[in-house]
Symmetry: C2
Subunit: 220 residues, 2 copies
């Protein structure tokens, strides 16, 4: 069967899975779940993913896969070529660590449920919420810049000269930076790696604003 990705143009975790699927040349259908209209909370989608978050990937008649990096690891194990992890354990640890700076420590802070809590429970106005979003988006990129600038494994991409899970995550975080108008001028290596990513056809086609349903201009 063809794999089914539950995603949304605006979801950066969905971008990560979409980019990996396209990079590995895997066929899939994408079913949009409109995060802005709250469709992820409807019973139909909760039956797919009880956490009400994107993405989810259906690969067979078993339970859907969830959590973007867990899905990337699954795709890497079942469709190893082209690879998204280096072959050595130390290199794999570095790539996974860089990926998790984004996927664990930064992206979960800017998702819809957090913004809703800040607005509804903490009564933060829109400027305060936007400061939160750009602060944490920027923090992760500063840390990535620090790793990329000080570690000899950095190449054309985060780790050597071929793209990896770390590059997929870096690219997703740069998309967040664009949504929230974060200034990247002090992060030349992040910018350079992002530019290298966007020369890859799969990364380009997978990007939020080229995904079905996207507006011509991003909204906050």
């Amino acid at each position: 069967m063809t794999m089914k990705l539950y995603g949304f143009w605006r979801s950066l975790a969905s971008f990560r899975v979409r980019a990996a699927l396209m990079y590995k040349g895997l066929a899939f259908d994408e079913i949009p779940i409109d995060l802005m209209r709250g469709v992820q909370h409807e019973p139909e989608y909760r039956a797919i993913n009880p956490q009400s978050v994107l993405p989810a990937l259906i690969v067979d008649d078993g339970a859907p896969l969830f959590e973007s990096l867990a899905i990337l690891e699954y795709l890497e194990e079942t469709h190893p070529a082209p690879p998204l992890l280096p072959t050595d354990a130390r290199g794999r640890a570095r790539v996974r660590g860089l990926a998790m700076i984004v996927a664990c420590d930064a992206h979960p802070l800017i998702v819809p449920r957090i913004r809703r809590y800040l607005e509804q429970e903490m009564h933060q106005d829109e400027p305060a919420r936007n400061r939160w979003l750009s602060h944490w988006t920027r923090e992760a990129l500063v840390v990535l810049e620090s790793h990329l600038s000080s570690e000899r494994e950095t190449g054309r991409f985060c780790h050597g000269d071929t793209p990896s899970m770390a590059d997929i995550c870096l690219a997703s975080q740069v998309f967040a930076a664009r949504f929230f108008k974060v200034d990247l001028s002090a992060m030349p290596r992040v910018q350079r790696v992002f530019d290298a990513c966007m020369t890859i056809d799969a990364f380009d086609r997978a990007q939020p604003l080229k995904t079905a349903g996207a507006p011509s201009e991003p909204m906050h």
Copy 2:
């Protein structure tokens, strides 16, 4: 050389690495970095981990490893027995997904830098900050309970009858629940798996309140 873990009794991500090291029977020295006194921001530790977060693991004369789940994957690849991941790709995806519900979507919301931002930038008083901490701590456990109760792979542990990365993460999240006085009575499977975890000597010895430097009672 003996591995060196930069950790802290109160750091749940440090618990995850400590538990894996002990479970796999690996020798290591732990160097405490006092998160409550802000030692993670001092230049000496920033040179170890530019993100100023715990843990970091030194395994050789190369750069320190960072991000708890990336470190767990490294330990699994370099010291596969006893395993912390199942052997099938689908099972591994489920275990990693459950682990990431904690390590990506929940734990990063309750760490010191977030609390500091809520206090200093958003002027949230202590009760409001405590509501935030217990809300997100509980959310992840509710989602775990939903997976554990509905999926046939659940056994004595999160995935079958042997412990995995998912159990290490579940246990770390239950410790958070205790710190923040989250009521677990509606989560019988989470509690049962946690109890099973704590019968394992390594999990028991690794736990926050049995780690050097811990007080006899946890503080918020």
